[in-house]
Amino acid sequence: MEPKIGVFLCNCGGAINNIDFDAAVKKVAKFPGVTCVNLSSDLCLEKGREKMISCIRGENIERVVVAACSPEFQEHIFRKVLEKAGLNDHLLSMANIREQCSWTHDGDVTEKAVELVKMAVNRVRLLQPMEKKELPVNREVLVVGGGFSASNTVLQLSRVGLRTTLLEKEAVLGAGTEELESFYGFDTGSMISAVEVDKNIEVLTSAQMTEVGGKIGDFSVRIRQEGGEILRKYGAIVLATGHQTELALDSEPQLRAEDEAISGLNIVSQEQFCCMLGNSGLETEPKTIGFMFDFSDENSRFTTLATLNNALAAKKKWGSEIYVFCKNVKVDSEGMEKLYREARDCGVVFLKSEAPPRITAENGRVKIEAKDVFLGEDVILACDVLVAEELYLPAEGAENLSSLLSIRRDSKGFFQDENVHLYPVGSEKKGIFFIGGCRGDLDLGRVLTDISSVVMKVHELLSSGKILVELEKVKADPQKCVACLTCIRVCPHGAIQLVRVDGSKEVAEISDLACDACGICAAICPAKAIKFQGYRDEEILAQIEAIQEL
């Protein structure tokens, strides 16, 4: 039996002036199934909505079409109206007669408006009610990694009352944070001890994930620790596995020193130089020090910061002569300009050159030659220590982690495909997040803000212990599914799994929690088994049917 359809037209308080609404109302009234057509000028206001609710109740209308402004603008408001009127809020279809009809064409557009309404009516006639339900989710969070970002995340998560597990591959926490300690005065020691003592945080060291299954709110993770394997359940997973650095010397051919004696010389990384600064028992304090950056890696913000800090520290401690070779100094983040001026004031010499300097050995000291841009000739400098440029690479475990979680990586191998919708911390799988070095983001300031955004996101998802979803919005019909696995391979959000139904038959099952309602699976299913409520084939083809003549 045809459902009763109510059409509500709105002339947006006169803003839609090139539609003859009277003629439109007459035409719309003739569409099959339409029992009442109302014209109003303020549907989005309180008054207009009250009238709508009373009309829906009065005429006991079963489907609603609203022909007004763009659904992007008002759809959620009209859904609430339906709910108030006691109607399932999915049974609404909108016709955009304002932005996409009246405002973009001059002259009378009544006919187009009527046809847009007819399209909406055809679609609403087929819509089915959708049940909403709150599904329980596991409130525990797994944080992978043991460095600065990971520890801070677990601390802040525990502060908002979420239990977390910190998984660290090495035997001890806080590896690789010495550099931060000396530069930013972070007391990493106390941070690590705070983590260990916090009752909300369970620390698992020299432990690794071997298998990850399930979906947001119900991840099942198999963890291997000293021979034993345990299976744990988590609501969300945060990856903070950091990065690794490699001296740009060995990998960059043009930076390679001409003769082989270079290996014996004093060429160090920023971190090693930091330790040299820290240890007081150094036999000979280096008299002249060379720094290098911005040759092999364009966004060298992190290395610039490290160089400026190290140079200043070395100047104060040993008063040695310091020369910095660089293409240019990028001071675009907080406090860098001040540091740069301070370094120049106390005598650090900055030499700008286009091509990377040639490095050779000269009786036990490092000889650097570079063509200075301003002087226009070669500058040759022999120094005791050279702090070479470093390349930032993903941590070694990144490869197997990405296959474990079947998550894509960007062209350089860092997590989080270069997709703007995933910034700043999301991944294409709901419930899996990344922060810090593993995302190729090395700027400490940004890492701190990311940590708080991850905490906020996880809190929003899991703290209430349940997530409201529309049940079976996208469903694979077990009778029709031939388990060809195409949808499982195609789903960008990994929301589909193969499940056993009544004992023997295996079919695809789409998880309401993990599904992001894109419909790619519904389009590609060869057996047409997947139905996407609101955008089923019938509902799309019905809109095409409605397009008569022009």
């Binding site: 304002r98 932005e99 847009l116 195609v490 894109c518 955008y535 799309i540 083809l541 397009i547 003549e549």
Partner: protein, 128 residues
């Protein structure tokens, strides 16, 4: 529906771009009918073929820019399907050019207008 263009517009990019075109009162030919889809990846080959059967002069699939798809692979899938449709039409000696895909972002109403104008030019050229 002779001479009409059916445009499948992705909720994340093309539909808001069309709305913005309206808000800025940018004008484009009237014979276009927009069908809102959650992602360009939802548009299936059968939808495009049925639209052509109904007499549509052209079918536009409008999705996010490459690499900026809200659902990661939606726009690339849509591009593959449009190419597949062109091949299916070429197989039966029908000009496939009126079935086309354009990429745009939500803040690019001019791209929406230029897509509609370009497809109108293609319709004239292919004489449908």
């Amino acid at each position: 529906m002779n001479g009409c263009i059916v445009a499948f517009c992705c909720e994340h990019s093309a539909y808001p771009a069309a709305d913005l075109a309206g808000k800025l009162r940018l004008h484009y030919p009237e014979n276009i009918r927009v069908i809102r889809v959650p992602c360009a990846g939802r548009v299936d080959v059968i939808h495009i073929l049925k639209a052509l059967e109904k007499g549509a002069a052209a079918v536009l699939v409008l999705g996010c820019e490459d690499g900026a798809c809200h659902h990661i692979t939606g726009n690339t899938r849509a591009k593959e399907r449009v190419k597949y449709c062109n091949m299916l039409l070429k197989e039966v000696q029908i000009d496939g050019r009126p079935v086309a895909m354009f990429n745009l972002s939500p803040n690019a109403p001019h791209k929406f207008v230029s897509a509609v104008n370009e497809i109108t030019k293609i319709i004239k050229e292919s004489g449908r």
